[in-house]
Symmetry: C2
Subunit: 366 residues, 2 copies
DNA sequence: GTGAAAGCGCTAACAT
DNA sequence: ATGTTAGCGCTTTCAC
């Protein structure tokens, strides 16, 4: 057991130096592993450090070197498995290069994001990975970039900001999957997202999220290619909590011209949407077809298993961290920036349009 | 737009002081909001700071004050929604009190945990929340505690370490739910966990995880109370990846004296177990009953919905962070430490034992 | 190879 | 209320 139990003051290089009978500078060099140190001195210093249980003060070290070996990660919601997985990719990669991660949750709130970025900058992180809540309000990100601190965007891009962005081609996969729904006969396709907007949704409105507008663009293009009009009336944004999502789902699924297929914008929404469908007593895919973004393991367990759009989330986290660390270390960009693409995984939740719905609405027998 | 674009050196108090025509000390006081400063000086300093776009260097600040306003969080797997939720509770609470969170993932590996703790200490975090990978190998945690740095344990306790621990009473809920299974007629109950052990599982062996041994203890007690022998032969540890879990599941479900009920130790395992059961062509709960730890939203979506053991994970995260921050700020413990308990949520995955199985094994007609 | 001394940006005594 | 002077623990000239 060590002699003196709980000591107050930490032991410093000065202490080690004294114990090893060398100058503070030499001790620091030996401990910090830089400069020129004779084998003899190094051994004595290391022994003394061991003996005293010396631990470097990384704060002091960071102050001199200007590098904190820490990166800031700002996400909308760590509770969402999507970000959980991405974060895992980031932390795994960071650790491999000796970086730590400070994680901040913004709740998809831009004000919180602005604050988070400021705080992380004040803490002198070496770089930042941000999944921006808004693709439009991006002055704070621009300032990061202008200040010369490396920045990598995840999932969503920021308008007019030329920074490395790791994201999948949403318009493409949205086009592909919508086309699939169209070919299966669907024309009344609803889209439900949590994206918060100031005004109510209208056809051409400019959206805060590149991700969502790309998806809508993809859908519109698919409809246009089929010579059909995109059902703007079935787009539902501002899906808040579970109750709100359930209401919106009921909303698009009822009435004369109800949706025959529903697309859920992420895994969290999907849960409530499917629940609402079940509560309505509708069967998937017999009565209504269902498609969702993100391929979580549980989507294989439902009856029927769910058709999903799979994104390489973990790999994207890895890529974001790699790119950031590369920038931090001043290395040149890789020859080709890796392109990420989502894939449509057809399982069992998309079926043909039920006879009673569709183009022609028949008046009930009654 | 600001005048000089990307500057090299950061602006410091000295710069602000000069601009505001006051001493460095006065500027620092005004900026740091401490000491006595006249209204006049304060205004000039703040104006100058604004003008120069001054940002405090939190590293320097931390070095003097000794407080970094940062807490370290060490978990086994952030990808597991269980920890995702807990982390959310922690970060939400931390932010409210002005603390940041450095997150480290250990992959349930003790060596990584030891390292993580050391690094965080070196970074001078104000306190630590750890979900220990092992309840036995805890010297590194003891050293944290001895060094006087606040420490709170999450989910699992550490042998002989008297630190605040936020966890549910696992033995109790395990007893309760096992009793439920027994009353439903089950005697062959399998338990599957990812817990890694050095040696193969044997009846009385000492387990590394307080969580798992508590669960097994609860099960044994429930069996004893019913006057039955606990089927030690159906305990499966070291369930690694999805394939491994599937194999173990098949294993306990086949043969003469197969399990009639399976308990999955966490949400991640549960996914693979259910998949394996489905692949085996067995129906839940007609052929085999199923019970799992953690109440994730998706467990309501399967057919049938799954019977689960719900833990107040978010609240536990909140409690852990609150307790830690209280310790950091030197406030006394709350009158009564909050007790957390899990609850058995009976949905549809537990049913009566199928006629062909159970106590007496009948020789097939053949 | 080694040591003395000067910072890093800030807070904290200590005077005035 | 204000300014001067020391540090915090480390890295980094710059001499020797």
């Amino acid at each position: 057991m060590s002699s003196d139990g709980a000591r107050r003051r930490d032991v410093t290089v000065a202490d080690v130096a004294k114990a090893a009978q060398v100058s503070k500078a030499q001790a620091a060099r030996a401990l910090g592993n830089y400069g020129a140190v004779s084998e003899d001195v190094r051994e004595r210093v290391l022994a003394a450090a061991e003996e005293l249980d010396y631990r470097p003060n990384e704060l002091a070290r960071s102050m001199n070197t200007g590098k904190s070996h820490t990166i800031g990660v700002v996400v909308g919601d760590i509770e969402n498995p999507h970000f959980g997985l991405a974060t895992r990719g980031i932390t795994d990669t960071a650790k491999k290069s000796g970086f730590n991660v400070i994680l901040v949750n913004t709740d998809e709130n831009t004000a919180a994001e602005v604050d988070a970025v400021r705080v992380l900058l004040d803490k002198r992180v070496d770089g930042l990975i941000v999944a921006p809540a808004s693709s439009v309000e991006t002055q704070h990100l621009r300032r990061v970039h202008d200040s010369g601190r490396p920045l990598v965007l995840l999932d969503r891009s920021a308008e007019g900001l030329e920074v490395e962005t790791v994201a999948v081609d949403m318009a493409a996969i949205s086009y592909e999957s919508t086309r699939y729904l169209l070919q299966t006969g669907h024309r009344r396709i609803a889209f439900i997202s949590t994206l918060r907007t100031d005004a109510a949704y209208t056809a051409g409105m400019r959206l805060d999220s590149s991700q969502i507008s790309d998806r809508l663009d993809g859908m519109r293009r698919a409809f246009a290619d089929m010579g059909c009009a995109f059902p703007e009336d079935l787009v539902r944004l501002n899906a808040g909590g579970a109750d709100s999502i359930r209401n919106l789902t009921r909303d698009v699924l009822q009435g004369n011209d109800a949706a025959t297929a529903v697309v859920a914008s992420d895994g969290l929404i999907a849960l409530s949407v499917v629940e609402a469908i079940q509560e309505l007593g509708l069967a998937i895919p017999a009565d209504v077809s269902f498609l969702m973004y993100d391929d979580f393991a549980w989507t294989r367990l439902t009856t029927p298993p769910l058709t999903v759009i799979a994104q390489p989330v973990y790999d994207m986290g890895v890529a974001a961290a790699s790119a950031l660390i590369r920038q931090i270390e001043g290395r040149p960009p890789a020859a080709a920036a890796p392109e990420f693409s989502a894939t449509l995984v057809r399982r069992g939740s998309v079926g043909v349009v039920p006879a009673s719905s569709g183009e022609s609405v028949e008046v009930p027998a009654l």
